[in-house]
Amino acid sequence: MRPGHAFVAGYLVLLVAFGIVPTGYGIYFAFTNSANYFSGLSNFTAVARDFRYLPAVGHVALYLLIWLVTLAVFVTGLALVLHQLPARRTSRLVRFLYYIPGALAGAASVMVWLFMLDPTVSPAAPLLRLLGYGTFGQVVQEGHLAILFAMIAFWTGAGGWIVVMYGALNNIPQEVIEAARIDGAGGVQIARRIQIPMLRKWIVYMVILAFAVGTQLFVEPQLISEASVGVAGRDYSLNQLSYDFAFQNNNVNYAAAISVELLVVSLVVAAVFVTRSRFFDAD
């Protein structure tokens, strides 16, 4: 037994206990009925026929579109700008500022936004009023939710990725940049032709993880729903619907079917991204 085994053993135990076993248990539920008999795809078709299912799929798709695009564009852009900053101290300070929101635990950071979005208590109240929103109910209208959730997710999650991208940029050999500069490339051209292509794998990695997290959207709509006493955000995402099936309609099998769908979608998307970007090719 090599020392490496000892190092991964602890992780492996947790992975099996809290990752693999629950996944297997979920798959078992998804293909059985309440009497524990094999039921084929009937849970999946029944879920798809539920009146809340298609709207939830639409909500999550819209949210993902907004979030993934802003994440990819802004994180890469901000990391590049950060990397160009000449002053070391400013760069360090800005990196730290970017990172702070990410240090808050998920639910806590959504709580911050509940206050931000309520014009009666928000420090950004003048801005909200300027946009014509005088009450919390007006701010969290149905049509605003995807954008609001994308904003919350960006605010909580992007900082960490900016720091990661910054690290990746530091890994690009100075000689390559230097050579480009001698060839007459400016800042924009270096970014476009050298840095972004060399960051490609990191961006793909970020998008895969963000996609998986995004399809599991739950905390944001659930807390908005609680805060607005059910006016906005109830049964908004697929995960909420799964939760409702499990605990309100007492149907763990339907709930598991949704979870398995999310797992399959995430796996397929990850596989597509990985193969298309040649993620595992040696450089």
Binding site: I20, Y25, N36, D50, R52, V229, G230, V231, A246, Q248
Partner: protein
């Protein structure tokens, strides 16, 4: 997701074959064992099947130990008062959201406990009065009138108070308070402006329009609450929630009984004397303090909205109560009801004696219900003392006991207690539309289909006539 990455990576990086096989076999065995183990014994309400049948249900083996009581923050003084009155009984108090606004917290937790076979609380307070619709089927609540509690005690609850607790003659919970709707109004302002308290809805509508022009900014009501339908639609005898069987409901919200109220509300919202805000929103307390002329609402509005430092905080001597206005031609007066909490006893409890003692105390007349309770006690002897105490406090401008006692017997029985939350449905279907300026009348068809869909999702058969 890290899992996926790792799995993919594992596939692409060659590794000693022996280790992989061993790992795969190990994981598979573990999986199989877990799935097999979890597959059984997850029948609802399982876990305490080893007990004996007594008092109409299977009781768990009894033991001593602290009594676990779940309450919302409003009911904390009740537990504290009990602890003070019974210093030798140990209470393990757990604070939760009280299931308010259809949050389903209790059901969520109970279903988890059913799976694990342990963890149920002994006594639970719930602000939702439709709990019985699922607790009986889940085997969570114990029947109280099959030997646990004497009929002399249960008979003291107000007429109809135990309706939301009763299934096939068995009483599965105790009502904490009555929440019948009345017309709250500011007597000082009414007198000052020379207005008469309306007794019919058309009069109410006229006054609302008059207020909008003569005293802009003042309110005669609000429609922004999740329980708005339980004030206006229920009182108007709108058939939105007629539970006709254990899993059957009749919904028809486009009939005259509903449209007449919807159009009244639309008119007053448009005029400006009907607020779109909820009474518990921060904006309402901030904007409407001192601006409420009338407010149709439940019996607990007095303590929770008017005489509350965190609410409107209206000064002493201004607020009075009148009966809900009626539609001309209504035979017997009718009103609605907003909640009125319940106390539930767990059928899994191992401390039934202590739990029954607690329930008897907390709902009966005592230091809590007589003095501290914010709402009209459902237990009649307690209500009598409570009303006398309210009068003694001198907060109200006139006697509130007559209209409250009257309203307690006028709650329209055509609005039932289904498992789906009417409050949650109204909140997600109608309130966003009101906020963005749609009329309630235009949203009635959407309300109809939303109620039907939610009812069907809970296994109800829905008919419209």
């Amino acid at each position: 997701m890290a899992l996926v990455i790792r799995a993919v990576r594992a596939r692409s990086e060659p590794r000693p074959a022996r280790g992989r096989v061993v790992l795969a076999v190990g994981v598979a065995a573990l999986l199989a064992a877990t799935v097999a183990g979890c597959g059984n014994g997850s029948s609802p309400g399982g876990g305490s099947s080893s007990g004996s049948t007594k008092d109409g249900f299977t009781q768990a083996p009894q033991s001593s130990g602290p009594l676990t009581v779940w309450v919302d923050s409003t009911r904390v003084p009740a537990v504290r008062a009990y602890e003070k009155a019974n210093p030798d009984i140990k209470i393990n108090m757990v604070l939760y959201d009280g299931d308010a606004n259809g949050s389903n917290t209790l059901q969520t937790k109970v279903e988890l406990y059913d799976r694990t076979g342990t963890g149920w609380p002994d006594v639970v307070f719930s602000a939702e009065n439709n709990e019985i619709s699922w607790t009986v089927g889940a085997g969570f609540t114990a029947p109280l009138n099959q030997g646990l509690m004497p009929s002399s005690f249960l008979g003291n609850f107000a007429a109809g108070a135990l309706d939301p607790c009763t299934v096939n003659g068995k009483v599965y919970c105790l009502r904490n308070d009555m929440a019948m709707d009345v017309l709250w109004y500011n007597a000082t302002l009414m007198k000052q402006w020379g207005y008469q308290v309306p007794t019919t809805w058309p009069q109410y509508e006229q006054l609302g329009e008059k207020v909008a022009t003569q005293h802009p900014g003042y309110l005669v009501g609000n429609v922004g609450d999740t329980f708005t339908p339980e004030i206006y639609m229920w009182a108007s005898q709108c058939p939105a929630n007629q539970i006709t069987g254990l899993r059957a409901v009749t919904v028809n919200v486009t009939t005259a009984n509903c449209t007449r109220m919807a159009s009244l509300l639309d008119t007053l919202v448009k005029a400006g004397s009907m607020s779109k805000l909820g009474v518990f929103s921060t904006a309402f307390d901030k904007k409407e303090k001192g601006k409420v002329l009338m407010l149709p609402g439940p019996a607990w509005f007095g303590g929770a909205v008017f005489d509350s430092p965190s609410g409107l905080n209206t000064p002493k001597g201004q607020i009075a109560v009148a009966p809900m206005p009626q539609w001309p031609g209504t035979g017997t007066p009718s009103t609605g009801d907003v909640g009125g909490g319940l106390w539930l006893l767990s059928a899994h409890s191992r401390h039934l004696n202590e739990a029954v003692n607690f329930l008897t105390w907390v709902t009966g007349n005592n230091a809590y219900q007589d003095n501290l309770a914010p709402g009209y006690p459902a237990y009649t002897p307690a209500a009598t003392v409570w009303l006398a105490n309210q009068a003694k406090s001198g907060y109200y401008a006139s006697d509130i006991s007559t209209p409250l006692q009257q309203a307690a017997g006028q709650v329209w029985s055509g609005w039932g207690y289904g498992q789906f939350s009417q409050e949650a449905i109204w909140a997600s279907t109608i309130v966003p539309g009101i906020t963005t300026g749609k009329t309630i009348t235009s949203m009635l068809p959407a309300w109809q289909s939303s109620i039907s869909e939610h009812a069907q999702a809970d296994g109800y058969t829905v008919s419209s006539s």
